[in-house]
Each structure stands twice: as structure tokens, then as C-alpha cells.
Symmetry: C2
Subunit: 254 residues, 2 copies
């Protein structure tokens, strides 16, 4: 893992890194926080490791809870080259959007392919991050994501015992995702923007039902996107991770 | 409204009151808090105005947020006489429970009858409470309840514009309740214990869908009862009311 840039602002250090073909970014508190919980943040399809909503959430987690947050570009996203097959999927999505046709069937196939490739990349990233002295091998690990980030997180959590808690947003549900959810036993919070395009409510509930986790909550809120959740619920994911990953909540966040 | 007792403990004054046939209780901060939000708390069927969970929630709301909280016994509950018809419903519920038969059909009819009688009682109680100098006519008003308390709250909110926010728990859903929900436009949070007996998930989602409120959230959590929600979500109702009723949250609560 090579750090290729470092900037500091408002108590947060941002470092871009490269690990083999993986391009990523790590946010940590300037004050240092060895052994603090590490959150992995999965961006949605078409976005990248520094998607505005992802960055806002990461900065909040670092500043408010003292967490460390890492994000990597999905294959073919951000700073990474796109394969011809990925390009065909992307073109098909744009054509469907332009024609006013549903994109979910295309996105489901594309995301599952991307997630299958991203899982070993996240595992390699985890190995490298835990080898850093400022993180360490004992840091409890959570994962959060939306859309593609949900698919990747579920495929990762189904095979990776180091993931101790999952915070998930909107996603297109199919049988493969339900199958992955059945293997998940760690605490899960699942947030559904109830007016999202092509999000089937019954399928969303079926995904919630599929989690094998004893501790799982489902939250529906108005709007088409997860960032439209009510203000008074914005701090909830931080409290969720703080509870499960063992860090006292900084109460200035509420 | 006549106060018939007053006790004080841990910064909270508890006063029992009588208003005509209504028996009730009012919890307020000893420090005084004129114009603070007033929460109305509706107990579940078979319980009473000082049901343990209701009292715990009330004390938390007063101590943490400085709210005033009022509860009244439903007709035929707590300190109030039961009519022969109510007795027949109660007997039928007990017989169904003993026989291992579903109680929801009986409870739905019984609760709708109780709620119909409780709505004007809550309105009279509201009038009397707002006439108290320590509450005042400008206090913003929220309502919270579980089971019978949900039915009563929805029937009340559908006709009573002074109710500015609703926090609802488990309830048996029928068409009449759906109809009341369609008249509700104020912010709602709806908490579903996902493993509750005789709670149909699709019906619960249909109730959420029925609210005409622009600001509405649905939260599912494991367990058969609302008090089994995860620890890290316990403060959420206080934050919900604090946001909508205009009182700063005391951050010691999280």
C-alpha cells in the first residue's frame, strides 16, 4: 500500500493510496486514534471513492466518532480503467435511462459482477490497512454502502468474518442478494428511501427478513435517495457503529 | 381538572389528576418549563396510565428533554369502571388466549370502541392542560403510544389539529385504522417489533404507506415488543419529538 497524497483539514487527514490495481483513500483523525474502529465505505455504481455523499459521511464519522474510514474505487470506477464488458453494461444503462426503460435488471447483473471482483480487493485492502501501525490488527471493522456498495458489502460480509457490523442503504434486490443476506449474522441496519425508483417495497422487506442477524433494523424514510432521510435520523448510523464497534459516542453529533 | 396527589423524585414532579370521569397523571420537571412541549402518552390495552414502560418513557422525556408528559386511563382501564360490553370483550380476549386462538379480531373491535370514547376525553384533557399556567396554550403537542395507544392516537390526530407529531408502536391494522392514517398529515414515526404475535408485515407496511404525512419513517426491529428495540435506537423518539416540537435535544441522552 503506497500513499500518494496527504492533505489535512478540520482535524481530518485524507490520504490517497494505491494497492496493486486498487485506488483508494483513507481518512483519519489528526489527533491519532490507534485501534479505533475502521469503517469501509462502498460507493454506488457510476460514482467513485470520493463521491460527495460518501466523503461527507466519512468526514462526519472521523470528526464526530474518531473512526478511521477507507474507500476504494470499484473496478472500472473512479481512477480505474473500465473493461469492454463493463462499458457495455454502462452503455446499456444509459440507453435504458434515455428510453425511459427500467434499469434494475441491467444494474443487478452489472453490480453482481463488480461486487464479485471487489470482494477480494476489499480483503486485500483490509490486510494492508490492518498492517498500518495507526490502525492495527485489533481495530473493529464496520462496512457501510449504498446500491453497488450494498451488493459489495453483502458479498463481502458473507465471506469475511472481520466485518463486524453493516449499515446498508437502497439496493435492487435479487435472489443472489437474498442468498448473501442469509449468510450475514452480524448486526445490520438497513435504510430504505421509500420513494426510490424501481425499489420494490416487498423485495426490500424480503431482504430485511433474509438477514440471519439477531440484531437487525429496517428504516424507511421518504424520498428517492438515502440522503433524504430526516435530519433527526442522520446521526443514527454513527450511533449504530459506535454501539457495535465499541467506541463511545461523541454527543456533540446529535 | 383536580390534582389529587403530588410526589417528586429525581427532578420530576408526578401529579395524579381527575377531570370528570377521566383519571390521569402529569409528569413535569421540578425546574419548571413553561411552554415546553407536551407529550400525550397512550397506554396499550389491559394496561393503565402508569404502565411500567409508559412511566419509564415519561420520566426519560421529562428528565432528558424537559418535556411535560400526560397520560390518562382508557375507558374501563386503570382506575375507571368497566362497562358490561367491555367486560365481554376482555373475557373473549382471555378465552382466545387460553384456547391458543388469534386475539387480533377481538382486539381490533375492542380498541376501536375504546379509542372512539377516548378521543373526546383526550381533547377535554388537552383543553384542561393548556389552561394550566405551567403548560400554557402555546405548548407544542406530541402524542406517543403502543397498540390501543396507537389506535387512539390515530383517531385523535385525524380530528385534532393540535397534535403536531406522532410516535407510534405496534398495532393490529384494519381498514378503519388505514382510513384514519390517510387523514394524518403531521410527522409520524412508526416502530414495528418485527416478531410480534399476529402482526402482519404487509399490513404494517400498508399502514406506513397510508399516512398522508410528508415526514414519516418506519422502523422495524427484532423482538415481539417495542421495548425490545436495540439500545442505540432508544433515544430516537426523543430526538424525533425534539426536532418537531422545537426543543433542543439534551445530548446527555445518547
Amino acid at each position: 500500500m503506497h500513499f500518494i497524497s496527504e492533505t489535512e483539514s478540520n482535524g481530518v487527514i485524507e490520504r490517497d493510496f494505491i494497492l496493486g490495481e486498487i485506488t483508494g483513500v483513507l481518512w483519519s483523525p489528526t489527533s491519532g486514534n490507534i485501534g479505533a474502529p475502521l469503517l469501509l465505505s462502498g460507493h454506488s455504481g457510476g460514482m467513485h471513492k470520493k463521491a460527495p455523499g460518501l466523503v461527507a459521511g466519512a468526514l462526519h464519522s472521523v470528526a464526530t466518532h474518531g473512526f478511521t474510514v477507507a474507500a476504494i474505487d470499484a473496478p472500472g470506477h473512479g481512477d480505474r480503467p473500465r473493461t469492454p464488458q463493463d462499458q457495455r453494461w454502462t452503455d446499456a444503462i444509459h440507453q435504458a435511462l434515455a428510453a425511459g426503460e427500467p434499469i434494475a435488471p441491467i444494474v443487478i447483473d452489472y453490480n453482481m459482477s463488480l461486487a464479485g471482483r471487489a470482494v477480494p480487493e476489499w480483503q486485500a485492502t483490509l490486510d494492508a490497512l490492518r498492517a498500518l501501525p495507526e490502525i492495527g490488527s485489533e481495530a473493529p471493522i464496520g462496512y457501510g454502502g449504498v446500491m453497488l456498495g450494498v451488493v459489495t458489502g453483502l458479498m463481502l460480509a458473507a465471506v469475511e468474518p472481520r466485518i463486524a457490523a453493516l449499515s446498508l442503504g437502497a439496493v435492487f434486490v435479487d435472489d443472489a442478494l437474498i442468498g448473501a443476506a442469509r449468510k450475514v449474522t452480524v448486526p445490520v441496519e438497513y435504510r430504505i428511501p421509500w420513494d426510490a425508483d424501481e425499489i420494490d417495497h416487498a423485495a426490500a422487506v424480503a431482504l430485511y427478513d433474509a438477514f440471519a442477524s439477531k440484531d437487525k433494523t429496517m428504516h424507511a424514510h421518504p424520498g428517492r435517495y438515502n440522503n433524504q432521510m430526516p435530519d433527526y435520523e442522520r446521526g443514527n448510523s454513527g450511533r449504530f457503529f459506535a454501539h457495535h464497534l465499541g467506541r463511545a459516542v461523541d454527543t456533540t453529533s446529535v
